[in-house]
Symmetry: C2
Subunit: 89 residues, 2 copies
């Protein structure tokens, strides 16, 4: 068994309201920032999967993304492999 680490980026689908993104945009004038637009706020989940091969590990991540990390009706996601790091205590 090998260890594979992945990052799952979950973002609101285009056309779906993004209240957190609007909140960020509303706060920009207070920081005197005027040249920023189209802010979208989502989540990033990193995880380590033990599996015989990378493809099998990625299948687990695909399932978790669709069933646990994201709401497929309103969110889309991408999965990328990332370097392993020291376990977090």
């Amino acid at each position: 068994m090998s260890s594979y680490r992945f990052a799952v980026s979950v973002m609101p689908r285009e056309g779906i309201l993004d209240p957190q993104g609007r909140a960020v945009e509303s706060s920009l004038p207070h920081l005197e920032v005027e040249n920023v637009r189209d802010v979208r706020v989502g989540r990033r989940i990193e995880l380590t999967v033990e599996a015989e091969a990378e493809a099998a590990a990625r299948e687990v991540v695909e399932r978790l993304a669709a069933e646990l990390f994201a709401n497929p009706l309103i969110e889309s996601w991408t999965i990328e492999g990332v370097p392993m790091h020291a376990p977090v205590s």
Copy 2:
């Protein structure tokens, strides 16, 4: 002026408690997933910056990451350029 799009990944620093990561791990047995560990949950913010050059745009993102998107005491962040997409209505 050109448009540059960035993604900022904000994650809990190593050693900092991550209740959302623990919640995900607690729900894995219900999905009959046993081979997943070290789950960390953070945020991903995408935004478009208008600037004369990519370096100037990235400076704006660096400032927003440190002052608005993340709490530097307990979170770290990475910034990456991403492809422009159609503006979100």
